[in-house]
Symmetry: C2
């Protein structure tokens, strides 16, 4: 594939990222009560003043990341936007996990039944994003005496210790740390996914002492993720037993290609950090190529939301819909896999996902992306922000892809 | 509309009912552990041995009702089938409400977010169906000394008192009896719906003493249902405050035409029992015609699952899908409204719903009905039984419609 093609991708991705940032800066900020509106319609109208708390944290994290690492977003308004969101998040902190506040809502009730049989993973996810956000901000504050620098690392550690029971004493005992067992306690793929993201956040750019402190958890996350490789390596199953065995029935047979692909790029990051070629190979074969092969709709294109590994009909009503976020994860996963290996087939697949994604999800009229398509590719829910869609998956994907394309193009020029 | 047409409807409905009963008798019975399989695929294959407890109760209730009131189902195998299900239900009784047992599952986690923000209504529904089922059976047992006659009324009363705090002392105080208040406690349309069904069941065919005991609850149910008439009588809203006011945001604006139609025929039954012409008029105008006018898809036909009264996009991913059960409720509601009033327009609409329903939902190859169609009318989940679809809505609808058509045709002949 030509350099011209990579430059074309980068150009489009850069524009889409600018566009997404503009949209959320323009429509999501509550200038009266603080925080971010999360229920935003097709044209930017706020259709509900409810603010989903977990999306507040994600939005802060995203602003911080853009401010810290991309020159064109290192602007006062991005930092101020992040701070405004953090103030709201801190305000509701003492009421964790069932947080509520002025116009704020705790995480939405579970809607993906098959992938979340209990309550705990959702609460964990919620808290994880509240660590991620201030963690990033604390390293960003321009004034070293500012509130954020002093306070947020403490806060992150406090929430962390609530989740993981402090000092990581339960780690290495074979169980997922801090996830209490219910009557049925499957291990869900997204739970170690989230923990892995958290470790990365807490250790990113920190000293060796911090890195060492969380190393065991990082290894635990990888082990947990790898337990989802089932059926002699032919499938990634969304739910497995805490011992890593397949569970009976629909719950055990469930596949969520988007989660598998997200796990794939997490594993690729770890393999790169640790120089682990075997892990890289597993990540690509099992968590990038396999979910794509199984999850791609050969008839209409796009990734299915849920599938049953034995070909039964999933019981999730939305199983055949095409959601924006699995496509975001696929773009990141394939571009990262290609960046690490330079194998042309991986870039070919990235292109296929890219074409589907950019032909279906962006709203060329009002900006930002639609989130929900029918199996056939028609927009069926037209809001830009809702209970599960905030300022997160779209900008994170575009940000990561732009950075990877920067590096790929720089390397191409170096070698030319 | 001609008598021939009504006879044609009855013929088809009778066949569909026989067909549904055959399907569940053939495929759903667990002859080893007892009870009913509830996860049944397109062709009758059990795709998960999980048994949803609330569907056990519904299936028992349905068998009892058919056995008790329709000559052609007054067969030993129907009674035995019902008893086999009751034994399983009784076995798990002591663990109410979070019941579990061998291969049994408590009610599925909430999936219709907008219509069930808390946990309580689902638990109430679950328990209600466990009263309904044995209540019916206890009046059916052929042997007066049998276990069921002695035991089940006691059981029903026990569960009843758990739900309603015994003796109805909380009735008339303005609050929904026995539904504990959460942080946000909207009143959902289906909660009084279920209570109303329960009162009907507990009083049906009983002496005046029993009827009197539950009269206040019956009136409370009607008052609660009527609180969902909002916006100057132009809309039925799914969630209202306990005081009967509209709630803010998406939750407050949500409409569920299927629930409104179900409430409609409940109200029509009450109005007939009480000779209340005003209630009948309200039921028809507000709970039968209005939800149909708002909920019918003018482009593709069929009833939407959810709608926002202000025309925003609902946040429920399945909002535009066509589900079997709202169509069942619509058939009952329009045929009952026509039976009570003889207004031709009501029969016209019944015919329209009938055509859509019978052209889309029945599986002419394997029997029974599909439950889930895309907006365009394509089958998108092909199982016959799942977490929310059991031996209940389809046979209840066919049973009630057949009975109403019997009466209509008998009256036509009488008057001829």
């Amino acid at each position: 594939m030509s350099v011209v093609k990579l430059e074309e991708y980068r150009e489009r991705i850069r524009k889409e990222l600018d566009n997404a940032v503009d949209f959320w800066l323009k429509y999501s900020h509550d200038t009266i009560h603080g925080g971010f509106f999360t229920c935003i319609g097709r044209d930017g109208t706020v259709y509900d003043e409810l603010k989903y708390v977990w999306l507040q944290g994600r939005q802060v994290w995203m602003y911080c990341r853009l401010y810290r690492t991309m020159d064109r977003f290192r602007k006062p308004e991005i930092l101020e936007a992040a701070k405004a969101g953090v103030c709201v998040s801190v305000e509701i902190r003492p009421r964790l996990p069932a947080a509520s506040g002025k116009g704020l809502s705790s995480p939405p009730p579970t809607r993906k039944r098959g992938e979340n049989p209990g309550k705990t993973p959702k609460e964990t996810l919620f808290r994880v994003f509240h660590i991620l956000a201030p963690g990033d901000l604390s390293r960003e504050a321009t004034d070293p005496r500012s509130h954020s620098v002093v306070f947020f690392p403490l806060w992150a550690e406090t929430v962390w210790s609530r989740i993981y029971g402090g000092r990581g004493t339960r780690l290495g005992l074979g169980g997922p740390p801090g996830v209490p067992r219910g009557k049925v306690s499957p291990q869900q793929l997204r739970s170690p996914d989230a923990s892995r993201g958290l470790v990365q956040q807490l250790t990113d750019g920190r000293g060796q002492e911090v890195v060492h402190r969380y190393r065991e958890l990082a290894s635990w996350c990888v082990r947990q993720i790898l337990q989802h490789v089932q059926r002699d390596g032919t499938a990634i199953l969304e739910n497995v037993s805490p011992e890593g065995a397949e569970l009976p029935g629909c719950q055990g047979r469930l596949q969520n290609p988007g989660h598998a692909l997200e796990a794939g790029w997490f594993l690729l990051q770890v393999s790169a950090e640790q120089g682990d070629a075997e892990l890289q190979q597993t990540a690509i074969n099992k968590f990038v190529e396999l979910p794509y092969q199984k999850g791609w709709d050969k008839e209409h294109g796009g990734l299915f939301y849920f599938l049953d590994v034995d070909g039964h009909c999933p019981t999730q009503l939305e199983w055949s819909m095409k959601l924006w976020w699995p496509h975001c994860e696929a773009l990141i996963a394939f571009l990262m896999a290609y960046s690490q290996t330079q194998k042309p087939q991986l870039l070919e697949t990235f292109s296929q996902v890219y074409e589907y994604t950019f032909n279906h999800f962006p709203d060329t009229k009002n900006g930002e992306w639609f989130g929900y398509l029918t199996q056939e590719g028609r927009v069926t829910l037209d809001f830009k922000g809702g209970p599960f869609k905030g300022f997160f998956h779209v900008p994170r994907c575009l940000y990561m892809c732009e950075r990877m394309l920067d590096d790929l193009l720089a390397n191409t020029k170096d070698s030319a």
